[in-house]
Amino acid sequence: MSFVEYGEYIQEGDISIVFLGHESMFPIKVQHGAQTQTRYGVIRHSTDLIGKKYGSKVTCSKGGWVYILHPTPELWTVNLPHRTQILYSTDISMILMMLELKPGSIVCESGTGSGSLSHSIIRTIAPTGHLYTVEFHQQRAEKATEEFIAHRVAHLVTVKNQDVCKDGFGVVGVADAVFLDIPSPWEAIVHAKAAIKQGGGRLCSFSPCIEQVQRTCLALSECGFEEISTMEVLLRVYDVRTVSLPVPDLGSEPPGSQQATVTYKSAVTPKEMAGHTGYLTFATKSLL
């Protein structure tokens, strides 16, 4: 397996997802002789995992069972070690779509952060594209590099530890798309413009606060970007349930002839949901 290519069987060195149940899972590195503790007991990699098909049900030592899943950027996003606030799949989907990413795209990103978006970008631009990702924080840049190697996508990405606002992306005139998730995106707009190739390209800036958006839009406009457009995407997940309501007793004749309850298949709204992650501002750098 790699994060950009499905494998059929679990192999030595693979990153796999142990799925225990509803929203309860974690990633492991599959290694001969290794063991993984779960609340249902131990999983022995050599006998329980290696050579099995992805998606298999694996019985743990205490008799409980789990599924072993092939990693995807989406599963990684909900399982990765947080080094920063991360982007989730709802925003990521919008970013990939609106930046028009596809196999072969050259993308610049800053900051790398926990690598949540980076993995999705790499998946989408593989096998012929490339991601240049710039991270201010040295340890984070190093951790990300390690992960890209472990996930077998290192050939598709270059990690740079520098300040994008001062030093830019380290490439000029090559990018189809630029993504910014930094505190002062307006300071990086000139570098973003320089990174985009001559024929034009797309830019996205993610900011939690509207004041950041206002300054960024101004900077984009001053730099000659067009089609500047800011949006937000919110996800509402429904819980499909059988809801049963008691039938009211209005004193109908004959008593007892009524059903006691009536049931509905209902998509129940969640009690709480993410009310805001950030504003997504997109823009086009036109020709010339």
């Binding site: 098909k53 409980g64 989907s93 005139g173 997940v237």
Partner: protein, 476 residues
């Protein structure tokens, strides 16, 4: 990296027969560049001939006779969007004299060769009330004047983004009201990427198919399932994919799924009965008539433009060929060749499906989803995502329930996204006044090894996840 620079700086230019998208503000129209061909765009006749040889992204003025003339790049910050607006219209007295330019003045400006953009600016500068109008009124004013005087058009490369926005904005009924952000969610939730073997069943004019093919980038394969009546692929064509992309695209008739599954489907050379032809690949390849959109019960805003928003040139070329050729023999022979070709391709598709190792399943149709999902999931490998779109929530609730009963799927999730656009202008920042009321619903999940045993009863009841977790942890 050096090589990349070279590759990327080769600025793509518009070529004859390219599929392109015409753009004015947020209005799009997909079209093929053909010599001397008349195109209607925003009620205007155009000839695109002069676009050939210009780089993508060029903006053109439409001059006399619908001829295009490439614009010089303009300085940043076009029409005066950043000027102060009145906050209410308390001071506006409309006496019909707010515009200082007369009709004659405007005609004179036109004759002087002033561009539409400049005329609009003149109108704004000469309006005594513009500055006091509310921003909403200002916007309306500019839009109206632009439409009247600004005859420009930008030619851009087609993309999933542009085509999805085009269809959603102008003919959502053709794509089952699939909003572009929802399409984006589907591609991500489906983990669509180069090298995938994806099964697609859609009745969205080929938009979803095209978006999937764009993400495959020519690597991997797509098996499109065709309903009776056949797929409409106008949108797929509009992507303008290179020919080799089509080599990875396969079709298989939905009506043969059950026989493929139960093993009763056998291919032989003799098997091409007339009956079969009418209901299967014939449709897949040729039928492009619109199917009345039965699920489209919501009132559509009537577009003033009655023009089609995309021009399916392949179709027209076909018609022209038919019109010009009258020789019956050629037609018959053509049909024969096509027939054999189709048969050959259907066999390939069948073989691909029989492997039962697809990497994903994407459904977005006007049909009841649950029967399709339950059948087609059998062709998907374990540990692979699937994603089902429906304009309506109720069919997906049913689908959710059926899938739970079936088992072999985890992480089932029914969701909807809200898309909120913003106006960001100095002192006038706020969400856009109009928003989409709904972008449709998505049911997604991941396949896993099927259990021999029946799913436990707790799965079917409405117990909260917390409780169920204790009993049966890994079926969710």
């Amino acid at each position: 990296m050096e090589q990349e620079k070279v590759v990327n700086n080769s600025q793509p230019v518009i070529k004859e027969l390219d599929y392109v998208v015409l753009k004015r503000e947020d209005i799009y129209k997909a079209v093929q560049i053909q010599p001397k061909r008349k195109i209607i765009f925003e009620k205007q006749w155009l000839f695109l001939d002069n676009a050939v040889g210009q780089p993508y992204g060029t903006t053109f003025d439409v001059i006399a006779g619908g001829v295009l003339q490439a614009q010089k790049p303009r300085p940043a910050g076009s029409l005066q969007e950043s000027k102060e607006a009145g906050v209410d219209n308390r001071n506006i007295v409309d006496d019909g004299r707010s515009q200082k330019l007369t009709r004659d003045d405007i005609e004179t400006l036109k004759e002087q060769g002033l561009k539409g953009q400049d005329i609009v600016q003149q109108l704004i500068d000469n309006s005594t009330t513009f500055r006091d109008k509310t921003e909403f009124a200002q916007e309306k004013y500019i839009k109206k004047k632009k439409k009247k005087y600004e005859n420009i058009v930008t030619i851009v490369k087609p993309s999933g983004r542009v085509l999805a926005q085009m269809y959603h904005g102008r003919e959502p009924g053709k794509i089952c009201h699939l909003r572009y952000d929802t399409l984006g969610q589907m591609l991500t939730l489906g983990n669509i990427h180069a090298g995938n073997k994806v099964i697609v069943f859609e009745t969205c004019a080929g938009l979803v198919l095209g978006a999937v093919m764009e993400r495959l980038g020519g690597y991997g394969s797509v098996i499109q399932m065709c309903p009776g009546g056949g797929p409409v692929r106008a949108a797929t064509d509009s992507f303008g994919f290179p020919e080799h992309f089509y080599e990875m695209l396969h079709e298989f008739p939905l009506s043969k799924v059950n026989s493929l599954l139960d093993g009763s489907l056998v291919y032989s050379v003799e098997e091409k009965s007339e009956a079969e032809q009418t209901n299967t690949l014939e449709d897949c390849m040729q039928t492009k008539e619109e199917i009345p959109d039965q699920c489209d019960l919501v009132n559509e805003r009537n577009d003033q433009d009655e023009e089609l928003m995309e021009t399916s040139s392949r179709e027209e070329q076909g018609k022209q060929n038919k019109g010009s050729s009258n020789i019956q023999d050629i037609k018959v022979q053509d049909k024969r060749v096509k027939q054999e070709e189709k048969q050959r391709k259907e066999k390939i598709a069948a073989a691909l499906l029989r492997e039962k190792n697809a990497d994903g399943l994407v459904i977005a149709s006007r049909f009841q989803p649950s029967p399709v999902v339950l059948s087609l999931l059998k062709f998907v490998a374990p540990s692979r995502p699937f994603v089902i779109y429906s304009q309506h929530k109720e069919p997906l609730i049913e689908c959710y329930t059926k899938l739970r009963e079936r088992g072999g799927v985890i992480s089932l999730r029914l969701s909807e996204t809200w898309l909120r656009q913003y106006q960001v202008l100095p002192n006038r920042t706020h969400p856009k006044l109009l928003m989409s009321g709904g972008g449709g619903y998505i049911l997604s999940g991941i396949t896993v090894e099927m259990d021999a045993e029946k799913p436990s009863e707790t799965e079917k009841t409405g117990e909260p996840a917390g409780k169920r977790l204790k009993i049966q942890h890994a079926q969710d």
